[in-house]
């Protein structure tokens, strides 16, 4: 389980698979004001990425994965 909700923060941790998209979506549907923390992400499936792109939550932290840090985070601006 790579999606952890801690109060108003949703933590994405490690390798986020396609099925994590649903957990992330539910957490955001409960409160779209939640902040998504990307600092612990190692891999991210497109299913998860497109939820973030569609909902545009506030994000914090930068992924350790160089590809995501360089090519993906800027798309959430």
């Amino acid at each position: 389980m790579s999606v952890r909700v801690e109060g108003e923060v949703i933590l994405l941790v490690g390798r986020c698979q396609a099925e994590d998209a649903e957990a992330l979506l539910v957490a955001l549907q409960e409160s779209a004001a939640r902040i998504v923390d990307l600092a612990e992400v190692q891999r991210m499936h497109l299913a998860v990425a497109q939820v973030l792109l569609a909902v545009r939550p506030t994000v914090q932290g930068s992924p350790t994965n160089a590809f995501l840090a360089r090519y993906f985070v800027n798309l959430l601006q």
């Binding site: 396609a18 891999r43 497109l46 497109q50 939820v51 792109l53 569609a54 090519y71 993906f72 798309l75």
Partner: protein, 642 residues
Amino acid sequence: MDELLEQFLIEGRDLVAQAASDFDVLARDPGDAGTIDSAFRAIHTLKGSVCIFPMGPAERVLHAAEDALERARKGKGALDAGAVAGLVACLDAVDRWIDEIERGAIGADAEQIAAKALARLPGTAAAPDAAETDTAPPDWLGPLAEREWQAIEAADRPLTAFRYAPDPACFFRGEDPLAIAAEVPELLTLAILPAEGAWPSLEAIEPFACVSVLEGLSAAPIDAMRAAFRMVPDRIALHRIDPATADTAPAEAAGRTNAMLRVDAARVDALADGLGELVVAVNGFAALAERAEAIDRTLAAGIRTVQADIERVAGELHRSVSAVRLVPLAPTLRRLPRVAREIAAALGKQVDFIISSEGLEVDKQIADGLFEPLLHLIRNAIDHGIETPDARAAAGKPVEGRVTLAVAREGDAIRITLDDDGAGIDPARIRTAAVSRGVIGEEAAAKLSDPAALRLIFAPGFSTAPEVTAVSGRGVGMDAVQAAVERLRGTIDLAGEPGRGTRFALRLPANALTTRLLVVEAGGDRYGVALDQIVETFRVDAAALMPVGSGAACVLRGHTVPVLSLAALLGGSDTPSATAKLLVTRAAGERVALKVDGFAERIDALVRPPGGILSSVPGVTGSALLGDGGVLLVLDLPALAA
């Protein structure tokens, strides 16, 4: 007409015009790379837009033309004069089919025409180079280049653009398109875009459906990119971008949006109408100021200042709106060479048709109304002016006749001349023909000067064609041309020299033509009055009109205003009625009311300057043609009331 077709007719003709002007350049310089590129783009886009309509032959012909241009671009088959002529033939065919599709469907002869046009193109395409796919810029490339222009500008070598549109169900098969994108060698930029144009709302997100499209740029060659996407070959499109030639840099870094906007002309006309109304409404201030005068002179002065300000602003607005109506004349002119070639071919004549025009802009009405008369004149020049090749050779002339159309601006007017180096018009022959056709009596004809005799060809029912050809002689003669030019408030003259050729000279206004008129009834007739001459209109009880001397007066807003009968001024007799309908105008600075029998509709009309007998009638500024073909005299109220 369906909106799609309407749009296609506009854009398709624009593209034809673009390609035609490129082919013109290529005819002189078949190796001009920039022009080959431009022509290729126009033809490619046109090919894409004809697909929507039942125009199979057009699609095939354009495809072949595109291939020929593509080979020239790649340096695999240089164009020569024959190839350019073939391209022109293809474009002519397509231009003709666009005209036909506007009328409903392309003609039954389309296949034959297509076969002929295709036969004129140089050899069929060699097998496409396997290393190159999608040679023409795909639709998605424009937005991508726009988005990533900085990366493209910064690149020092060709790039590969990619668009990866995963199957919506791919997540269920365990695919991760983002992981595939992460493997792209030398990735420069990546964008994840909503496949449907917009992301779904929070409630509507289907977490396991792929709704994304991935686009980006890589510095890797196309083969390496193919290898990166080898698992999804049917979901990927690749295109090379060469920064050296890519026209991706924004024209203006400030506004990278398209500054052109197509607006329905009717909307612009509605704007102009509204402005006309505004001008009339502003006139109400004058009356207000006069009433205020009696109470408070400073207030009156204030109102007059406000009025002057509004009038000034309305004037500026009016100029802006007139400028919006200006359209380039080029699209109108560019349709003519094809028609000229068709006419010449039908008559077995050899004609070189040359157009010289600066990038002129004219009022839309002029641009729209000019095509038919020019077409007629060109048809006439080729049919009656230019001789057959044998006759020209016998006369010691070059076998190929020359027809030149020149358009230039002269102040507020445009001047159009059409010259041909054909047989010219013989005044003596015109006189004889006019007399034999009963257009004019023998004595009258003999009295005419040569230039006046030449003008007889504009007389209705005059036609000198000894035989009815397929091109002219359809019962529509030069009188129709003159009528069309006069409808545009223009003039047409001709001059010529037997054996040397003929020149038709047209002069047309370059700016907006219509005048807002109020139609009024007086003495049993209807007249037009320019709205901007009317201060106000109202009705009073006939009893309120006081006889003063030989005329009458009435009190309007505390002022005594002389009342004149319009019918009487026009030499008719006044019809008494219980209510007097008055038009108030200003004459020599004073307000004057003109009594009319009735107000009718407001119309927009072309006011033509008075000609012939009318020019000697005081108080008439011209005449307007009505939609039903009737003629309305347009009155100059101030002059009448003076």
